[in-house]
Symmetry: C2
Subunit: 213 residues, 2 copies
DNA sequence: GTCTATAGCTGGATAGAC
DNA sequence: GTCTATCCAGCTATAGAC
């Protein structure tokens, strides 16, 4: 396979590893100065090169963000796709959410890039975005195992889980004030979803008001 | 009361209204270019003045953000403090949450400034922050009326509600995909909180795993 | 591919005339 | 208080030698 007259393979390899080194430096930097605080000067210094060299590998700053986004999305998909031992549907769900929250809280900058859209002028390319979509299907399967299939409940689920993550990241970084509520949250959610398969004003008691506007 | 030799009153008034005009222009701008996209040049142009004039009223850009924060916080506190008719605790809670979500989705930039801490280098002053604190106590009272008093449930509550708002703002701005889940979310939350006054592994069924780590 | 040097721009903030 | 003019720092991005 090795053919000296066709050295594109290892050249590509070198090019890839150089790109990876830059992206690696970028992750290290945003961990310190925040996602929006990344500057190409500092990035070049961190990577041990100069600014123009960065442009030998990336055509723009947003291209770097996009590559970072792709890395993060792949990392996310891989992490969430790892098999979980056990066969109880609810336990699977709990383990899955723990994983999700750990992933999010493990690197706030990565979380911000992947799930909050706060970078002005940056939109991830479809290629970079693809792995994240794959993972959503994964969630649906797990919920289906727990007899949760309605779109409404899926939305309620995402709201609940992202709410936990958001509160944890913003108000108690590094702590467990909200991650400690995962188990209870899932109890709450499943009790509700499995009990209300179709939407009607819950028969809790007589409503005092007429139908909602 | 009116004393020509003491004209500080109306001068203060003029100064206040000039400041208000600048802040007003600032809100209009951030509504277009995003909170972080505000620049003093554009702000001055929007307000029909020049950049140095801005500095006649504010000592820095962050001072403008701080004033905006104070306005938003006051607006928020006032809105949430308006009386709600009805006496059923749950209905009060529903109305309250609707109000909250409407306030948040009504102006995403305002929401971002008040509740997400995404402006690099900006921290609201204690004075500007005070009204927001007042409102939190309000929430606690409403939950207490619904027999929800434990700190754990309060955290679960904030996660649930902010999750709804966040999903609505980020993924369906202007729509009702998540706001339409408010009623159901509150059902879910109250059913759980009122049923689990103290924490123990829910007696749903036998757990397959040992105690959590 | 990597560098030095710098263009070109935009940002916040200030000096000083009026 | 308001302006013109400007400073200075930071940024992305490029030109051109090696």
């Amino acid at each position: 396979m090795i053919n000296p007259s066709e050295p594109t393979d290892w050249r590509e390899g070198r090019r890839r590893s150089a790109r990876d080194a830059i992206v690696h430096a970028a992750w290290a930097l945003v961990g310190e100065v925040g996602l929006a605080g990344l500057s190409l000067r500092d990035l070049a210094r961190q990577a041990g090169i100069t600014t123009p060299t960065v442009y030998a590998y990336f055509e723009s700053k947003n291209a770097i963000y996009d590559t970072m986004f792709g890395h993060a999305a792949t990392e996310f998909a891989d992490r969430m796709a790892e098999p979980i031992d056990g066969d109880d549907p609810r336990d699977l769900l709990v383990a899955y959410v723990r994983r999700f929250v750990e992933f999010c809280t493990g690197d706030p900058a990565r979380y911000q890039l992947l799930f909050q859209r706060t970078l002005p002028g940056f939109e991830p390319s479809p290629e970079a975005y693809a792995p994240a979509v794959r993972s959503l299907a994964n969630t649906q399967e797990l919920l289906a195992l727990n007899e949760v299939t309605e779109a409404r409940h899926l939305d309620l689920w995402t709201a609940l889980i992202t709410g936990l993550v958001d509160q944890q990241v913003s108000n108690d970084p590094g702590g467990d004030r909200w991650t400690g509520l995962i188990d209870e949250s899932i109890d709450m959610f499943l009790a509700h979803s499995q009990q209300h398969p179709t939407r009607k004003p819950s028969p809790r008691r007589n409503r005092t008001k007429g139908p909602r506007s």
